[in-house]
Amino acid sequence: MPPAATLLTYRVRFPRLDAKWLVIGGAVGLAAWLSLVPLGFLLWQSFLTPETATMPAQFTFDNYRTAYWSVETLRVFGNSIEFAVGSAGLAFVIGTLFAWVNERTDTPFKSAFFALSLIPLVIPAILFTVSWILLASPKIGIINVAIQNLFATDLVIVNVYSMGGMIFVDGLHQSPLAFLLMTAAFRSTDPALEESALMCGATVLQIAWRMTLKLVWPAVVAVFLILFLRAIESFEVPTILGLPVGIEVYTSSIYQAVQTYPSNIGLASSYAVALLVIATLCVYMQSRTAAEVEKFSTVAGKGFRPRVMRIGRWRFLAAAVFTAYLAIVVILPFLVLVWCSLQKFYVAPSMAALKNLTFDAYRSVFGYPIFASAVWNSLVLSVASATIVALTTAVLCWIVARTRLPGRWLLDNLATLPLMFPGLVLGLAIMVCYLHLSIGVYGTLWIMLIAYVTRFMPYGMRYNATSMLALHKELEESATMSGASWGVAFWRVVLPLLKPGLIAGWIYVVIVSMRELSSSILLYSPGSEVLSIMIWEYWQNGQYVELSALGVMMIASLLCLVLLERFARRWFGIADPGL
């Protein structure tokens, strides 16, 4: 029997070598290279002692002994889980609630709320954390100072340096992500399904809980996993807020292990292996939910028009809650940064301080030697990585959702694997890797591009998977029956229909690339600094006012970018509303 017949038993549709297999092979190869090579170096490092000038690295199990066989470890594990569950839960509840209110009810000013609630995405974690120190630290926090002055007490009302504070700051910072992802999920569900429940006599809340939430369940699992993993690999919040009061999680333990001299990369790597195990479990659970693909695909070729539910007087309450949320997440942190940036050194707002407003900090930022190149590098890196990520993951998601290739679930895990690398360790692994493989990328922008694409590939996967789950397969099949080859069908039917998810993912990757810090910190060299590195340098030098000034400008220009993108899309008549 010819080889074609053997392939048939695997139900491969086109058992021939053509453009389809080249594209698929390229995407799979890229994902495998990017995910597995750093993983290999991570594991290799975890069995080595620290290398010093006098002693070369040696094989050892000591790192694992230190990392797992101590009481300390149990505490770190407990803290990590508490922090991640708390932060992901807070972000998920807030995000889902607002996404539902925004997509499915007649709350007033919805489009304004939608636009405003995306702003926190733009604020880098380090700026958000610093702004909450300025607001709620026990000594200099505006909230505490104001209340202490008002009631003439020494009582500390809120303390951001605590587990509660960490969860609060990180959860709030992640909530817009949950909001975005859940909005996309709600948009791909046919409202007729909810309306039929309404006709069965269900109340609005019953429908939200028993229909909408259940229908978007695969998306819910996917979103919660993203939030959980982001929280557990969150670097800025636990390091800045947790370490000073001795609350250690995995990431800050890794950071400390790297920071000691000689830096104990082996110990850091064995901590990272624990994170890997947790994350693998999560992804395995998620891939089981994805088996429900067909069951939950509700966007078929028949057009449906999203309709909203009337919630009566409750809509005013919803609008009020939305406004309060925006005040806490957007307005307060931004205003405190603006205030700080206009001072010579930081003081709580007062009439006296109002007289000392100055633009010196801004002048200082523009005068900083690396400013211009940092802006350029950030732009190039974020656009390039977002484009590569969006297109590659679209192909990968298609393979996972549509083909019956054996081991395709492995591919999903492969492309999601980098999610488990804390940025710091990923940066380290890539650094070590390309020091050994001298292909000329070390010390250039290319190595940072590799790091960014690797790091953000999982987000592209999740964005595209969400829309791919909702895409009826007959839409592609009809293109095939029309005579289109795989490439044409993919380019002209699948990609345009994935556009909501694709564009949402693209914007998201641009923004997170702009504020990426923990990988860049180990990979930049003179000439390839990015904006977040500049902020980091200010933070280390304790230059709060310059940090605030740069932060304000960065947030403002990112906001302009988002607005420009929305305007451009309307201009070119791309039919997708919102995302």
Binding site: R11, R13, K302, H472, E474, S482
Partner: protein
């Protein structure tokens, strides 16, 4: 001529087992004819259609059109679906929501190997849109179409490439009843005018009867009976077909004697029937007699029956007025019969009524319905 030979398909079930979707499906469709695969959901009809389309790869079998093999497990041939030049209308219509009506219909021409010129494309697209009465809406976004318009667009998209074969997967099931009836005639008219060889999949027996030149009734992955609509309706080969196509009364019986000429006498709880039989039956074999409701004739006066007819006396148990006809439930002893009568018959519930069943219209079927052709 489309020839499908011994098609077997499988899909992966739980824990790596393979589940058979179709067994040894074979049929032929002459040029210009409309062939229907009819059966309840899960009977393998859509799988068969998708195998012809090339969207599924069968485990074994052979498919050829005009003598050209498009799939054969023996020689390892499997032509990709996009090179088969078969037009297909999907159940969901699969209208691309990001394109206009015109763009949807023009897509097959734009992606074809020998892409026609711009003017040629425009001319052919407008011709096919005119044929389905969508030429006025050419520039409209596809999402702004009603259900019936989407269905016609899906048909136009399948026709614009002038396919060798048209495949229709329950194309009318998403439409409301009135529209479905209109589209049924529309579809039939276009198919007959274009003389396009067509394979049609449906679970709706009235659609199948109205449209087809030939029907294959499928059950559990096998073809149970192939025949013209009239044959399948009037001479069902077993209980499943008789039950699935139309409505029918079943009466338990046993064979008394064969009278030759395809007839036999059977004993039933309400007396001896003269019936038709198409299988060879043994004396005393248990059979089922099938009588269509419209063949159960009712009258208030004693009817004059021919020698072969059966006449009984019953009582009206219930009745339902359905506009063009009236359904009577008649009880003859313990036996309940459904009869379809003209609305002019006004016998009240509880009254005595005469029932006549012509011997030609009663069919004896083997009691075990598992019999295969």
């Amino acid at each position: 001529m489309l020839i499908v030979k011994l098609l077997c398909t499988e899909y992966p079930g739980d824990r790596g087992t393979a589940v058979r979707a179709t067994h040894d499906v074979s049929f032929e469709v002459p040029d210009g004819k409309l062939f229907t695969l009819l059966g309840p959901s899960g009977c393998g009809k859509t799988t068969t259609l998708r195998s012809i389309a090339g969207l599924e790869v069968p485990k074994s079998g052979e498919i050829s059109l005009h003598g050209k093999v498009v799939f054969s497990s023996a020689t390892g041939i499997s032509i990709p679906p996009n090179q088969r030049n078969f037009g297909m209308v999907f159940q969901s219509y699969a209208i691309w929501p990001h394109m206009s009506v015109y763009q949807n219909a023009a897509f097959p021409l734009e992606v074809s190997r020998r892409k026609p010129g711009r003017k040629d494309i425009a001319e052919r697209v407008m011709r096919v849109l005119r044929a389905v009465a969508l030429d006025d809406l050419a520039e409209r976004p596809a999402t702004k179409l009603s259900g019936g318009q989407q269905q016609r667009l899906a048909l136009a998209r399948a026709l614009v490439m002038e396919p060798q074969l048209l495949l229709l997967d329950e194309p009318l099931s998403n439409l409301d009843a009135k529209l479905r009836e209109r589209m049924r005639f529309e579809l039939k008219r276009m198919q007959r005018e274009l003389a396009l060889t067509t394979v049609y999949v449906t679970h709706d027996q009235s659609e199948a009867l109205a449209l087809s030149h030939e029907i294959a009734v499928m059950s559990e992955g096998r073809i149970v009976q192939i025949g013209s609509p009239r044959e399948v309706y009037e001479r069902p080969c077993n209980r499943f077909v008789a039950d699935f196509i139309g409505t029918t009364n079943f009466i338990d019986a046993h064979v008394i004697e064969e009278t030759g000429d395809g007839r036999c006498r059977v004993g039933t709880p309400v007396g001896v029937f003269n019936v038709q039989c198409f299988d060879r039956l043994r004396r005393n074999q248990a059979v089922i007699v099938s009588v269509r409701p419209e063949d159960v004739e009712l009258s208030e006066k004693q009817p004059e029956g021919a020698a072969r007819d059966t006449v009984c006396v019953g009582v009206v148990d219930a009745k339902a007025f359905l506009g063009e006809h009236l359904d009577f439930h008649v009880k003859i002893g313990d036996l309940a019969l459904l009869a379809r009568a003209h609305p002019s018959l006004r016998t009240p519930v509880g009254d005595r009524i005469f029932v006549r069943m012509q011997g030609d219209k009663c069919i004896a079927l083997p009691a075990a319905s598992v019999a295969k052709p």
